[in-house]
C-alpha cells in the first residue's frame, strides 16, 4: 500500500520569494530548525539536508525542477537505521500564485508503507508554520523544545 501526506499552506508572498525561501540556505536555516539543503538545484544533482552542526540528516536527488513552481526530490533518511532501510521517498513542492496569496503544497510519498512518512508528518506542519511566519512577518517561529534530536 502506498503511503503519503499532503500539506497545504497559503502565504502572503510571491512565488519567487517563496522559491528563494525553499532553496537558499540562508533562508532555510531560519525556519527549518537550523537545517539547510546542500544542492546545485539542477535536474539530476545530488541533494543533502544538513543540520546546524553539520550532520547529514537526509540525502537524495533532484528529480524535477521548474523554478519558481515545482520541485521534486528523491529523499532518504540517513541517520535512523530503520528509516534508511525503508529506502527512498518522494517529496514534491508545488508553488501556485492565487491572487495576493501563494499556495504551497508539499506532498511526501512512498510507493510502499514507509516509516519515514509517519516520521515527517510531525515535522512538516511545524516547518510550514515557521516558513509562513518568516515570509509574512520577517521572523521565523522559535524552535519547539519537543523537536526530536537528530
Amino acid at each position: 500500500m502506498s503511503s503519503n501526506f499532503v500539506y497545504v499552506t497559503y502565504i502572503r508572498t510571491t512565488p519567487e520569494k517563496l522559491w528563494d525561501a525553499l532553496t537558499k540556505p540562508e533562508f532555510t536555516k531560519q525556519y527549518w530548525f537550523g537545517f539547510h539543503q546542500d544542492c546545485e538545484w539542477t535536474k539530476g544533482s545530488s541533494w543533502k539536508l544538513v543540520s546546524g552542526d553539520g550532520m547529514v540528516a537526509d540525502t537524495g536527488e533532484v528529480l524535477e525542477i521548474d523554478p519558481p513552481s515545482r520541485l521534486v526530490l528523491k529523499w532518504r533518511n540517513e541517520f535512523r537505521p530503520e528509516l534508511k532501510a525503508d529506502g527512498y521517498t518522494r517529496c514534491t513542492f508545488a508553488v501556485e500564485r492565487l491572487g495576493e496569496l501563494v499556495k504551497l503544497t508539499i506532498t511526501h510519498e512512498a510507493d510502499d508503507a514507509h516509516k519515514m512518512i509517519a516520521a515527517v508528518s510531525q515535522g512538516w506542519p511545524q516547518i510550514l508554520s515557521s516558513l509562513k511566519s518568516l515570509l509574512e512577518t520577517g521572523h521565523a517561529l522559535p524552535r519547539p523544545d519537543t523537536l526530536p534530536k537528530g
Binding site: N4, V6, V8, Y10, Q126, L128, P144, D145
Partner: protein, 104 residues
C-alpha cells in the same frame, strides 16, 4: 482562522477528519461508505473542510483523493501555545490517555 473554527464546530466534519487521520488519501466514494450520509451531505461537509484548508485534495487519474491537512490546526497551536509549554502539555495529554485507557 474563522473558517477553521467553523469547520471544526461540526461533529460530522470532525468525524470525517478522524476517518482521514485513520487512513489518509480517500476518495469521495470511500468517505461516503464510512459516513452513513448521503453523497450530497458528505460533499457539502468536505467543501467546508476544504475551504478551511483542513482537507487538501489531489487528482490521481480520474479520482480525487482527500487528505487531512493539519497545517491550520498547527498554526492555531503556534498562536496560543508558548515555546516551553509544549512539552508539559504533551506530557499531560499522554497522562490523560494512559489513565483513560486503564479505566476501560
Amino acid at each position: 482562522m474563522d473558517a477553521v473554527f467553523k469547520a471544526l464546530a461540526g461533529p460530522t466534519r470532525r468525524r470525517l477528519l478522524d476517518t482521514l487521520r485513520a487512513r489518509n488519501g480517500q476518495t469521495l466514494g470511500e468517505l461516503c461508505g464510512r459516513a452513513d450520509m448521503t453523497r450530497q451531505a458528505v460533499t457539502k461537509h468536505l467543501a467546508i473542510l476544504e475551504e478551511a484548508n483542513l482537507v487538501a485534495t489531489e487528482k490521481r487519474g480520474r479520482e480525487k483523493l482527500h487528505y487531512l491537512n493539519p497545517v491550520p490546526i498547527h498554526d492555531i497551536a503556534e498562536r496560543w501555545i508558548g515555546k516551553f509549554e509544549r512539552g508539559r502539555l504533551s506530557a499531560l495529554s499522554d497522562l490523560k490517555k494512559n489513565l483513560e485507557r486503564e479505566e476501560r
